[in-house]
């Protein structure tokens, strides 16, 4: 029996939210998704601030939401901790009073958390005297002080200073290991904190798995963009696949039916004239945008295959690339990974 077990549906305005999710004690699951995908609503659903339309939600062996039987436990009777995105510290209370607010919070735990999150010196401050990182640490301490079995984190390290990020990750690693659900749009945060990833798009889970698995085999354009990869939906027939835009892509291995094609940006080569040589995918494209990325430049291409190429700044100079310039793009068949959709 999982600590948190959710299989059900609800709606946020017109957007239906369908979730099937289990989290064990000590496990951290990260929910990644674009804005408006329903990430925060998922947390509110578990917290009891948004009811299920159908299905059931079980926390620590207790069914807390079960619309078929007319049962929905209010938030204060669910044993969970919620760290909202805006922190929402109680402005009229000191840091120490904020951390000790929950009726289940006991002095020992409060003192331990104030110490572990380096808040002891701020104990008598008001929230408006705290920096963003400090406020985030107070919000986490406040949630953990109630000894939750499920911890809900909404963008926990958004705009955090390095020290706060370090302290928070340390406490999350050593905390009495509640089942943790983490909402984020930062793939690095998800990969470092989470055991499993869930990709949520338009209220639906489009992919679930280990961070490495999602990175190597992204199933949607969004998941691919997280890893910096190009993702194309196509219909394969043997060693050739036709994309939704009608472009033909040569594959190294034969495949059949609907597939996801994953193209690493670094494998897209750019040329001033049509390149000669081994069988590969060659097409003419237009530069839509140029984005500096560390020591490389990401060249966004328009054309039959809308992909991103990653090249060195000297190549950009040599080819004289600017927005709107025409260029030849080439990808070896062996660089195109093909996964059944």
């Amino acid at each position: 029996m999982s600590t948190l077990s959710l299989a059900g549906a609800t709606h946020i305005g017109d957007l239906p939210l369908n979730i099937d999710l289990n989290i064990e004690t000590g496990e951290t699951v990260a929910v990644l998704g674009p804005n408006g995908a329903g990430k925060t609503s998922l947390l509110r659903l578990i917290a009891g601030l948004l009811p299920l339309d159908t299905g059931t939600l079980t926390i620590d062996g207790t069914t807390v939401d079960d619309p078929a039987n007319g049962a929905c436990l209010p938030p204060h009777l669910r044993r969970l901790g919620w760290v909202p995105q805006d922190r929402l510290l109680f402005p009229h209370l000191t840091v120490a009073a904020n951390v000790g607010f929950g009726p289940r919070a006991d002095t020992g735990r409060v003192d331990y958390l104030l110490d572990a999150l380096d808040l002891t010196a701020l104990a008598n401050r008001r929230p408006d005297e705290c920096s963003g990182g400090q406020a985030q640490r107070v919000a986490l301490a406040r949630a953990l002080a109630t000894d939750p079995v499920v911890l809900l984190l909404d963008e926990p390290s958004a705009a955090l200073d390095v020290d706060s990020r370090h302290l928070i990750n340390g406490v999350l690693a050593t905390a009495d290991a509640p089942a943790t659900l983490l909402v984020t749009h930062d793939p690095v945060e998800a990969a470092t904190l989470a055991d499993r990833l869930i990709i949520l798009e338009d209220g639906t889970i489009t992919q679930a798995g280990s961070p490495a698995g999602v990175r190597s085999r992204p199933r949607t354009r969004y998941a691919a963009s997280l890893a910096g990869l190009n993702l194309l939906d196509a219909e394969a027939d043997g060693t050739e696949a036709v994309t939704g835009t009608g472009a033909r892509v040569v594959l190294a291995e034969p495949a059949n039916g609907p597939v996801h094609l994953v193209v690493p940006p670094a494998s897209v080569a750019l040329h001033a004239t049509r390149p000669e040589g081994s069988p590969r995918n060659v097409w003419q494209a237009t530069v839509a945008d140029l984005q500096p990325a560390f020591e490389r430049v990401r060249v966004v291409l328009d054309g039959p295959l809308p992909v991103v190429a990653e090249v060195t700044p000297s190549s950009v100079e040599r080819l004289g690339l600017t927005v709107g310039s025409a260029v030849w793009a080439a990808v070896k068949a062996t660089e195109v990974a093909c996964h059944p959709a």
């Binding site: 601030l49 209010p74 204060h76 919620w82 909202p84 929402l88 009229h92 949630a143």
Partner: protein, 259 residues
């Protein structure tokens, strides 16, 4: 243009300050202890304090839930109720007193049943004076608290939700989150309402009469004294001026910004 506006603004200041100067200039400072110490003054002061404090208490107990219903719920008819709340502010007090008389008087709409069933008579009693004061004072409090509730609605929703997820039951959330956040607005609104109740004249004299020691408040005593004993009227006015300043000064941060 600027000069013209400044002249008008200066005129407004004179209009506000001159009466106070006049009052203080004619004040019979030497006979003041005597005038303030006699029965008429002390009775009026006592009645005024009892009436205004009782009215403030009723305003607090009834006005807070009303402000909540208007500012925090989506009940139908809120616009109509809101207009009703403001009505005593714009209605001449004497009209309010007349209306109270026909509603709660001994032969009034509800008054006749109050008398028949409970033996309760409101007109020309201390209770009646309290009802009149409450009627005129309630809007000041409700508007202040409802405004605060509405502008802080999002924040209150958020904070109350967090408190609930921490395991706090609803009544405790109300006491530990909602009320503390509203306290400044409640205090300001209550001070205004109390000051309004203290100064109430028209509705009181119409509905509760002018019985010394029972319904004669400071404003009524002042008006009466003006016709026979102007020095007493000045002394009574000073009492009310001091009380008004005592209310205004602690609130100066709120009402006198930009010090």
């Amino acid at each position: 243009m600027r000069r013209f506006l400044l002249v008008l603004a200066g005129l407004a200041v004179v209009l506000l300050a001159l009466p106070i100067v006049g009052l203080l200039q004619r004040m019979p400072w030497t006979s003041l202890p005597e005038l303030l110490g006699d029965d008429v003054t002390l009775d009026a002061l006592r009645v005024s304090l009892v009436v205004s404090l009782a009215a403030a208490l009723v305003v607090l107990v009834l006005g807070t839930p009303l402000a909540w219903a208007l500012g925090r719920t989506d009940l139908p008819g809120r616009r109509i109720v809101r207009a009703l709340v403001v009505l005593p502010m714009v209605l001449p007090p004497v009209v309010g007193g007349t209306a109270l008389l026909f509603a709660l008087g001994r032969r009034g709409l509800v008054g006749q049943w109050l008398e028949r069933w409970f033996g309760l008579t409101l007109p020309f009693t201390l209770a009646g004076a309290i009802v009149a004061a409450t009627f005129v004072a309630l809007p000041f409090y409700v508007i202040a608290v409802e405004g605060a509730l509405r502008s802080a609605r999002r924040e209150l929703d958020d904070l109350e939700e967090v408190a609930a997820t921490l395991g706090t039951p609803p009544h405790s959330v109300l006491l530990r989150i909602t009320l503390p956040r509203l306290l400044p607005a409640m205090a300001a609104g209550l001070a205004l309402a109390w000051a309004r109740a203290l100064g109430e004249f028209g509705a009181t004299i119409t509905f509760a009469g002018n019985l010394p020691g029972r319904t004669q408040t400071l404003p009524l005593a002042t008006f009466l004294a003006l016709q026979s004993e102007p020095e007493r009227a000045l002394a009574l006015s000073l009492v009310m001026l001091v009380v008004a300043l005592a209310v205004l000064l602690p609130m100066r941060d709120r009402w006198l910004p930009g010090r």
